[in-house]
C-alpha cells in the first residue's frame, strides 16, 4: 500500500483517539470533572464496575475501537521513528514485519480480553 494511505489512516486514527481515549481517560482519571458534568462518581477500578463495563455492549464497542485505533496509530508511529533512525539495507522490511507482528499480537489479545468479559463470551 502507498505510504500516503497508511499515513492518512494514522492521522484519522489519531483524531479518533483524541475523542475515544479522552473519554477513557476522563472516566479513569477525572472523576471531579465528570461530577461537574453530571456523571455519577463511582469506584471505577472496583471489580463490580469493571465487570459491568465489560458486560455492556456499548463499552465493548468503545473498547474495540479504542484498541484498534490505538494499536494502528501506535505501531505506525513506532514504524516511522524506527525508519528514521535505522536505515541500513534490509532494515525497512525488518521494521515493517516487526510492527505488524507486534501490533497483531496486542490487538488479538485485546480482542480476547474484551469478548471473554462479555456474558456471551462465556468466561465470566
Amino acid at each position: 500500500m502507498r505510504e500516503s494511505k497508511l499515513w492518512a489512516l494514522h492521522l484519522f486514527a489519531g483524531g479518533a483517539l483524541i475523542v475515544l481515549l479522552g473519554v477513557h481517560m476522563a472516566v479513569q482519571h477525572y472523576p471531579t470533572l465528570l461530577g461537574w458534568l453530571g456523571w455519577p462518581q463511582t469506584d471505577v477500578r472496583g471489580f463490580a464496575a469493571v465487570a459491568a463495563r465489560g458486560a455492556s455492549s456499548a463499552w465493548a464497542v468503545l473498547y474495540v475501537l479504542l484498541l484498534g485505533f490505538a494499536v494502528y496509530h501506535g505501531m505506525y508511529g513506532l514504524r516511522r521513528v524506527l525508519h528514521e533512525v535505522w536505515y541500513s539495507p534490509g532494515a525497512g522490511r525488518a521494521i515493517d514485519l516487526l510492527v505488524v507482528v507486534a501490533g497483531l499480537v496486542v490487538f488479538v489479545y485485546g480482542l480476547v480480553v474484551v469478548f471473554q468479559a462479555m456474558p456471551v463470551g462465556g468466561a465470566s
Binding site: 492521522l11 489519531g14 483524531g15 483517539l17 483524541i18 481515549l21 479522552g22 481517560m25 482519571h29 477525572y30 472523576p31 471531579t32 470533572l33 477500578r45 471489580f47 469493571v50 465487570a51 465489560g54 484498541l67 490505538a70 494499536v71 501506535g74 505501531m75 508511529g77 513506532l78 521513528v81 533512525v85 507486534a102 499480537v105 496486542v106 489479545y109 485485546g110 480476547v112 480480553v113 471473554q116 468479559a117 468466561a123 465470566s124
Partner: protein
C-alpha cells in the same frame, strides 16, 4: 524519467571519483542527540522531540495495559490483588506520567493534524523581508494548546496524587 541533458554526469560517479584516494570526510550528522538539542530553534522543533518521546512511552504502555486489563478474566480476587499492587506510589507516579504523555500527545496532535493538512498555516506569500513563516502564523495555537496541556496535567496531578 530520463535525466535532462543539462545536468552534469551522474552525481554518484562524480562523488566516487572525488572520494577515491582522496582524504576521508568527517561525518557530521547530529543523530538522535540532535533531537534533544541542536541550537536556537523555535519551540515546535522541541515539541517534535517531546511528541516522539510521549508517543514511544504510550506505545510501550499499551501492551502492558492490555495485559493488566486481561487479569480481570481470572476473577475478582486476582483483580483485587492486581489493583492493590498497582496502588503502590511507584505505579501512581507511572500512571501520572502516562496521563501527562497522553494529554500532551493528544493536544499537540490536534495542532499537528491541522498543520499536516495545511490548515492554520496560511497561504504562500511573496517572501518580502521580514519573511513570512507559516509556523509563526500558527504559534498562537501552539501556545494555547500548551497552556491547555498544563491545565489538564495539573488537574490530573491533583486527582491522582493528591486526592
Amino acid at each position: 524519467m530520463a535525466r535532462p541533458s543539462w545536468t552534469d554526469a551522474s552525481p554518484a560517479a562524480d562523488r566516487q571519483s572525488r572520494s577515491s584516494g582522496s582524504p576521508r570526510r568527517l561525518p557530521n550528522r547530529l543523530g538522535v542527540r540532535g533531537w534533544a538539542y541542536a541550537g536556537r530553534y523555535p519551540i515546535e522543533r522541541y515539541l517534535y522531540t517531546l511528541h516522539r518521546l510521549s508517543g514511544l512511552g504510550l506505545v510501550l504502555y499499551l501492551p502492558l495495559h492490555v495485559w493488566v486489563t486481561g487479569r480481570r478474566l481470572q476473577g475478582p480476587e486476582v483483580w483485587a490483588r492486581t489493583m492493590a499492587t498497582l496502588s503502590h506510589p511507584v505505579f501512581a507516579v507511572g500512571e501520572m506520567l502516562v496521563l501527562a504523555a497522553f494529554v500532551f500527545h493528544a493536544l499537540n496532535g490536534v495542532r499537528l493534524i491541522l498543520g499536516h493538512l495545511g490548515y492554520t498555516l496560511g497561504r504562500p506569500a511573496e517572501p518580502v523581508y521580514p519573511y513570512p513563516v507559516a509556523l509563526r502564523r500558527q504559534r498562537p495555537l501552539t501556545v494555547a494548546l500548551m497552556v491547555a496541556t498544563a491545565v489538564f496535567i495539573a488537574a490530573g496531578l491533583w486527582e491522582i496524587l493528591i486526592r
